[in-house]
Symmetry: C2
Subunit: 314 residues, 2 copies
């Protein structure tokens, strides 16, 4: 088993998705190193994980963190879709230029593979079909998506120039335990956060906006499986299921037992009304499938929210 | 005729393509302003053209140059396809970030339209058909092409956010008078430059590499027509004709009367073997067509080269 000997550097490994990826990698026997700006927010450090705290855009720091690394999983971004249009120049500087710095360092250190978390929610733009696969045109309508698109192209370019293996996962909307309750990171976490604080739930638009939500542990498993695989290079990481905002409210009511009366507000201009991502390619190539039903995922997330912020927490 | 009152800022207007675009705009009665790093190399300044010398990446300078401007034609790039992979980070900084700075300035100054010169030769990557149109997948294999792709997407994004009108022209390989003879800017100019200096012509590979060449005056006409038009936003600016390197040698021999014995050298890894761009969309929407045959274009270019560098020049 050579697999257990491989060292994986997880950039953003202390974040929401990263912490779950680290769980999966440890379970599979990888040696795990984390590069992040700061410690995990909701858990203590692991004694069998190496931690490097600093910026992934710093080339000298990368030269330290990449020593002995076989695989890099890059999950970090300094921006989020909803606000990236406010300053596209900063988005390009902090994320696209940083990716190129990382790729240059990866080549210097002869890392064999990069797993890159792209954005299924923004890279396609407005979908031309009910359920879209990886061949759908890429027409992002937020800077976040343009940066992800250009990042994918640069990874492909470096692969071509330097023989670097890669796997790009275009994630849909991950949700689950350890998603920070600062509003921007996902509607489910935001709603649960409002519920626990007994604050009203606000919905922009009529609640018919539909998204593909994937439980974070299922996404993390896919990222970990991608370390070994790779017949093809780009995969939707999604549930292939659509849930409207109103659906979510109904599930939340059922799971929490709380009667929810959302406040409907004016819709935001960046909203793509409907997007579901076809995950058949990932199912086929990785023998992977989402294991957590939407109700089960919401329940786990609610239980975690209660344990962190509920009346009996601490 | 409101058209004659419009002021057009040509960024890169003293360069090879830009100088021809300026000719076309003046002929159509536009008020022309040029932003470039330095004066035209091969001609004197025009008394009816305003000149602004500086960097198009400088936001304060742009605020001066954009006063009273209706349309911007952006032709400038600090890199060329053949060398852009040497330093992709610099390519992104100098060209993509500069474009975003320009777009922000354009929005501030309420410019109504931007014409952007993209790259038909690099944005598609390796073609999947004999003659490819604008719907071909975008899979660039050089940084120059990735930056052009991301630039197109940001222009679309700004158009969507701010109502900016735009026209993107994906140029094939322009050639003609005033193309500098510094090697990187195009094989025809390079060959003519070698001929005039009685130096051997070197060919990388077997000479079967085929490209779509467009006479620069025809490309410039298309850029000028784009100021008025725009039912669709992205156009190949091309001849729809393929000429191999060996074809070019044959035409050069015929036009110049010089027997040419090229030296064949090892091929370069970035070469796409065969690419021809379908120009039907531009023909339909602009009532435009390339007017200069390949032989005629080569002849004009040779005559210009003789006048500049030949035994009887100066």
């Amino acid at each position: 088993m050579t697999r257990t000997m491989k060292r994986v550097l997880v950039i953003g490994g202390c974040g929401f998705i990263g912490s779950h990826v680290v769980d999966q990698l440890r379970a599979l026997g990888y040696m795990v190193r984390i590069l992040d700006r700061s410690k995990e927010r909701f858990r203590d450090s692991f004694s069998d994980v190496e931690y490097y705290f600093g910026s992934f855009a710093d080339s000298y720091f990368l030269d330290e963190a990449l020593v002995g690394v076989d695989i890099v999983i890059h999950l970090a971004s300094s921006t989020v879709p909803q606000t990236s249009n406010l300053d596209p120049g900063r988005d390009v500087s902090e994320n696209l230029l940083a990716l190129i710095t990382l790729l240059d360092a990866i080549v210097r250190h002869r890392v064999s593979k990069i797993i890159y978390l792209s954005s299924g929610g923004t890279i396609y733009g407005i979908p031309n079909a009910h359920c879209i696969d990886e061949t759908h045109p890429l027409e992002p309508i937020v800077s976040y998506g343009v940066v992800k698109l250009a990042s994918e192209k640069y990874i492909h370019l470096y692969s071509r120039m330097h023989g670097l293996d890669y796997c790009i996962i275009r994630a849909s909307n991950p949700y689950g335990p350890r998603q920070a309750r600062v509003g921007v990171q996902g509607v489910i976490g935001t709603f649960l956060s409002s519920l626990i604080r007994v604050e009203p739930i606000e919905i922009w638009g009529d609640g018919l906006v539909t998204r593909d939500f994937l439980f974070v542990r299922d996404l993390a498993k896919l990222c970990a499986l991608a370390c070994e695989s790779g017949s093809r290079s780009i995969y939707n990481g999604s549930s292939s299921e659509g849930h409207s905002i109103n659906d979510i409210i109904a599930v939340l009511s059922r799971v929490t037992g709380i009667e929810i009366r959302p406040i409907y507000k004016e819709s935001k201009p960046y909203d793509v009304p409907f997007i579901i991502l076809d995950n058949r390619r990932a199912r086929q190539d990785f023998k992977w499938e989402p294991e957590t039903s939407f109700d089960q995922g919401i329940l786990e997330t609610w239980q975690w929210t209660l344990s962190q912020y509920g009346p009996n927490s601490r």
